[in-house]
């Protein structure tokens, strides 16, 4: 996807453990473990990816696990292998069958 232009992207490979706060201008693709905050335009949590902390972005696609907080200003997709625990903010949501959701769900623009 972003292989041709990786400018502004963050890739966390499987087995990598990252701690801290990350501001990503474009795509954050997480296959490893991140503890802390991630803010990115587009976030992909791959099946092996785990995020413990705050996850903020325009479009968020979760195949792995996110614990604590997720906020997606445009779209949030939880795939069948995805697992989200904690507080969730979204404007458009999709959960595939098998996706796991445990926590509070808020719509950012409920009157649209």
């Amino acid at each position: 996807m972003a292989e041709s232009n990786q400018q502004g992207c963050l890739f966390v490979g499987e087995g990598v453990v990252l701690k801290g706060n990350f501001e990503v201008p474009d795509i954050a693709s997480i296959s490893g473990t991140v503890e802390g905050e991630i803010t990115a335009k587009q976030v992909l949590i791959e099946a092996t990816g785990v995020v413990r902390g705050k996850l903020t972005g325009e479009s968020i696609d979760i195949r792995g696990e996110v614990v604590e907080y997720v906020s997606a200003t445009r779209s949030l997709i939880i795939r069948s292998t995805g697992k989200v625990t904690g507080s969730i903010n979204y404007s458009e949501i999709e959960i595939e069958k098998g996706g796991h959701l445990h926590g509070d769900l808020h719509n950012l623009n409920p009157h649209s």
Binding site: I95, H100, L101, H102, D104, L105, N107
Partner: protein, 154 residues
């Protein structure tokens, strides 16, 4: 089970909360109960088999029901239900509205639901609005579905 003239539906909508509505309600409540009894005595349900063996109970568009509905079979809601619903399988259609508690093994929501939901298999359609605490085993939310509240995976 019970039939109703179509023009009666629009009349009902206009006289919501009036005496006319309550009269209709009383007439209709017993047949709904009968349906559920038939379903439980005649129908055998294996685990995992869809319960389309029995006829569904239907709350039609424009129809308002207040009270408790219990059914061992399928319930299709295109109208409005205020109260508690317990059924094996519930479909809240695009025009359907439920205010209150909803207990069902298989639940499909295409319309509006306000209240606590307990179910096993939950499918929320793209035009649905769901507001309340939801306890589920398997969930599927189609893109565009509006949901708010506490989600608990059981």
């Amino acid at each position: 089970m019970f039939s109703r003239k179509p023009n009666q539906a629009s009349a009902e909508e206009e006289v919501l909360g009036t005496e006319a509505e309550e009269v209709v309600e009383q007439e209709v409540a017993p047949p709904v109960v009968t349906t559920s009894e038939q379903a439980s005595s005649n129908g055998y349900y294996d685990n995992g088999s869809r319960s389309n063996i029995s006829k569904p109970s239907i709350i039609s568009e424009g129809f308002v029901f207040e009270g408790t509905i219990t059914s061992a079979g399928v319930l299709n809601i295109s109208g409005t239900v205020r109260g508690k619903i317990t059924a094996k399988s519930v479909l809240v259609d695009a025009s359907g509205q439920v205010d209150g508690e909803l207990n069902s093994e298989q639940l499909v929501i295409k319309g509006q639901v306000k209240g606590d939901v307990i179910c096993e298999d939950l499918n929320i359609g793209p035009l649905a609005h769901v507001d309340g605490n939801i306890s589920y085993k398997y969930i599927h939310i189609q893109r565009g579905g509006k949901v708010a509240g506490k989600f608990i995976k059981s």
